[in-house]
């Protein structure tokens, strides 16, 4: 089963390598990984989708991520109400005679045509993985020349927080109220 983790990390050189290397080392396979800046310039956010057998694997991943000095927070949003999005650019082989057909499909999926060339179109589609897979299915008979995807990004709805398999790690969870349970510098 695919699990989705939101990970906040320090925005420093080499942190992506540390995270990726950890998954390799502990024998987990990353399905998708999206990294970007956040509302705080010193913090980057990663959305990591990874295949796990069960919650024990999720615990392992979370606990190991916390071993990295640059990892600030890890939440498992797999089972929490959340918004997940993936963005794809799909280059479709379509001359003038099939443009309308592609355009119709794009409308149904609330996708957009962002480039038109004599014999191809680029469709931009945003949504859940299933939606993008669905659109690809329908475009395939027309002819997909190229495709690129950003990988999934995720955010929990409202006041929901992701699940914490290691409460207290790095002061997240039960240590939050006062940091009395943590080491002093």
């Amino acid at each position: 089963m695919q699990y989705t983790f939101i990970t906040l990390v320090e925005n420093k050189p080499g942190v992506l390598n540390r995270v990726a290397s950890l998954f390799r080392r502990r024998n987990f396979n990353i399905e998708s990984l999206a990294v970007g800046r956040t509302e705080r310039p010193d913090v980057s956010r990663m959305t990591i989708v990874v295949g796990c057998n069960d919650d024990m694997d999720a615990h392992k991943i979370e606990a190991n991520l916390y071993k990295l000095v640059n990892v600030i927070d890890v939440q498992d949003v797999t089972k929490q109400p959340s918004v997940t999005r993936d963005l794809a650019l799909i280059k479709v082989k379509a001359g003038p005679e099939r443009r309308a057909e592609v355009n119709n499909l794009a409308e149904i999926f609330r996708a957009r045509i962002v480039d038109v060339a004599p014999d191809s179109l680029i469709v931009e589609v945003t949504g859940t993985e299933e939606k993008i897979e669905g659109m690809m299915e329908l475009l395939r008979p027309i002819g997909i020349m190229e495709m690129v995807r950003t990988g999934q990004i995720a955010m929990t709805r409202g006041a929901y927080e992701g699940e914490r398999h290691t409460p207290g790690a790095n002061g997240n969870g039960w240590h939050d109220e006062d940091e009395s349970g943590l080491a002093e510098y």
Partner: protein, 562 residues
């Protein structure tokens, strides 16, 4: 005031209380060596960087402080790698400082350039590449804090040559800013209460004491806890010394070469309390049948160790000393007389098989030599070892009453660790008696450090157990490969002459009756001494849990000799 990066480094090391560094100079760290002359830190010139890494490790384990090892870029840095991995596996606080080519040359395959932060990423707790002199103070402050706090471990700082030479304003930071690094100390009250409920019900509890007890300095409070709850204490290889061997509640070492009664107690327990240990495969045997009827409480500072090998019922993530201190007032005084009696029965059966009960047969056994060493030193020496049979016999027969006297490579199992770690330990405790026990194989891996010991006048005694074989591999081949000996016979040099070439007094011991006298002679002789013990060639360490077998399926020492 502006200082060069090299000067900033030494200013920082002085402020961190560093007394000694173990290193080797080269092209990419020469500015560091030049600046070093102006600072009150003793430099030990090692013979190979791996030796330097083990010395810093031995120093750290003996002193409880952070050890420091240095090397240049390229091969200097890669030679440290085995030592870094050794420190990582055994949670030893060591800061490694390597030189790197100038920042503008990085990535260009410059002379003696290797990507050392890339290479050491999986075997360090954290590492840094420093390209500017103004980064050094903050990085060093963080590195020492990370190395010694939480679950300790090695931290590597790779400093570009230009950052050593260029100048920057020096100010040592008062505090570190690490938003992603807040080690836990106390465990939640609710979990502590769950643990107490399990303890109240337990009829056959066993404490499994690991290295964490020594690291957190929890020996006293654990003894208090064990006595109050009348819970017997088994130790991991690295936990030896954390609980007095002679204590009525002590079960000695557990695991692959643990005592039979210890492993039987664990397998038959109804509650295991893992204290600062990690249920390593060498202590559990096969997990399928491990302590099948036991509830498990795990006190551990590293959350990634919880449920890693063994699924536990109550995890208590925190500092062992703090957690057990919190637990003590919550528990009542319990009695487990029946349980203790059962263990005593198992033990008396094991004593009968012990090599100690054998009649004198004129042959020299390592176990007997270790026993004699234990008697002669009153059990108070610092013992370092290599890896293999002699290590297990030392663990079994050098009964430790006090903590931090047992320095051995456990997790990594690094041969060649004994001599250099003993030299490192000497720098931590020059007033204490230090013995490096090694095999003929392991000793030769880092034998060059004998020369370092001489140069420094290190008062370490080296006991080489020469059986002409790589003993532990030979034992496995005997038991599991139909005695097809492959690549294990080793023709050693004349160790006495080798020592002599270094100017080190040495003796060869071939008979049991010479052992005590030779040990006394070594103890009385100032400075490094080598004793070669020509021991029984094909002896085996018993009991032994074969890899992949259940913990109570032990091969036992035959009651009669071969």
């Amino acid at each position: 005031m502006k200082l060069t990066g090299a000067e900033i480094l030494w200013e920082c090391l002085v402020r961190e209380g560093v007394e000694v560094v173990f290193g080797y100079p080269g092209g990419a760290n020469m500015p560091l060596y030049d600046a070093m002359l102006n600072y009150p830190i003793h430099h030990v010139l090692v013979r190979h960087e791996q030796g330097g890494a083990h010395m810093a490790d031995g120093y750290a384990r003996a002193s409880g402080k952070v050890g420091v090892a240095m090397g240049t870029s390229g091969p200097g840095a890669t030679n440290l790698v085995t030592g870094i991995a050794t420190a990582m596996m055994d949670s030893s606080p060591v800061v490694f400082i390597t030189g790197q080519v100038a920042a503008h040359l990085i990535g260009g395959d410059a002379f003696q350039e290797v990507d050392v932060t890339g290479i050491t990423l999986p075997i360090t707790k954290h590492n840094y590449l420093v390209t500017r002199p103004d980064e050094i103070a903050e990085v060093v402050r963080e590195a020492f804090y990370i190395a010694r706090s939480g679950r300790p471990g090695p931290v590597l700082i790779d400093i570009c040559k230009n950052a050593q030479i260029e100048k920057a304003e020096f100010e040592y930071p008062d505090e570190v800013k690490l938003p992603g690094y807040k080690p836990p100390v106390h465990a939640p009250k609710a979990s502590l209460e769950q643990a107490v409920r399990l303890l109240e019900k337990a009829k056959r509890p066993v404490i499994l004491l690991g290295h964490g007890a020594l690291i957190s300095g929890a020996e006293e409070v654990i003894q208090h806890f064990a006595v109050k709850t009348q819970t017997p204490v088994a130790m991991t290889l690295l936990g030896l010394g954390a609980f007095p061997a002679s204590h009525p509640l002590s079960l000695g070492m557990m695991g692959m070469h643990g005592e039979a009664h210890t492993n039987l107690a664990i397998q038959n327990a109804d509650l295991l309390l893992g204290f600062g240990m990690r249920f390593d495969d060498r202590v559990t045997g096969t997990l399928k049948t491990y302590a099948p009827n036991a509830k498990k409480i795990h006190v551990e500072i590293d959350p990634s160790e919880v449920h890693k090998n063994v699924k536990v019922d109550v995890p208590l993530v925190g500092d062992l000393k703090a957690v057990v201190t919190d637990l003590v007032p919550m528990v009542d005084e319990y009695e487990h007389e029946e349980w203790m009696q059962q263990i005593a029965e198992w033990k008396s059966e094991g004593d009968a098989r012990s090599i100690m009960s054998w009649p004198e047969d004129g042959k020299l056994y390592v176990a007997h030599m270790v026993h004699d060493l234990w008697e002669a030193t009153g059990g108070g020496a610092i013992i370092t070892t290599d890896v293999g049979q002699h290590q297990m016999w030392s663990a079994q027969y050098y009964f430790l009453e006090k903590p931090n006297r047992w320095i051995t490579s456990g997790g990594a199992g690094t041969m060649g660790f004994g001599l250099p770690s003993a030299i490192g330990a000497w720098f931590a405790h020059k007033d204490q008696e230090i013995w490096a026990v090694a095999g003929d194989g392991g000793f030769q891996m880092t034998a060059a450090e004998l020369s370092t010991a001489v140069q420094e006048g290190a008062n370490v005694k080296v006991a080489i157990m020469n059986n002409g074989f790589l003993g532990m591999v030979r034992q496995w081949q005997e038991f599991f490969f139909e005695k097809r000996y492959s690549g294990v016979h080793m023709k050693a040099p004349d160790f006495v002459k080798l020592a002599d070439a270094h100017g080190v007094p040495a003796r060869r011991v071939t008979k049991p009756e010479e052992v005590k006298e030779a040990i006394e002679w070594a103890r009385k002789t100032e400075g490094p001494v080598v004793l070669e013990f020509v021991v029984v060639q094909e002896d085996a360490v018993y009991p032994m849990v074969p890899a992949g077998a259940a913990l109570d399926q032990m091969l036992r020492r035959p009651t009669r000799q071969k």
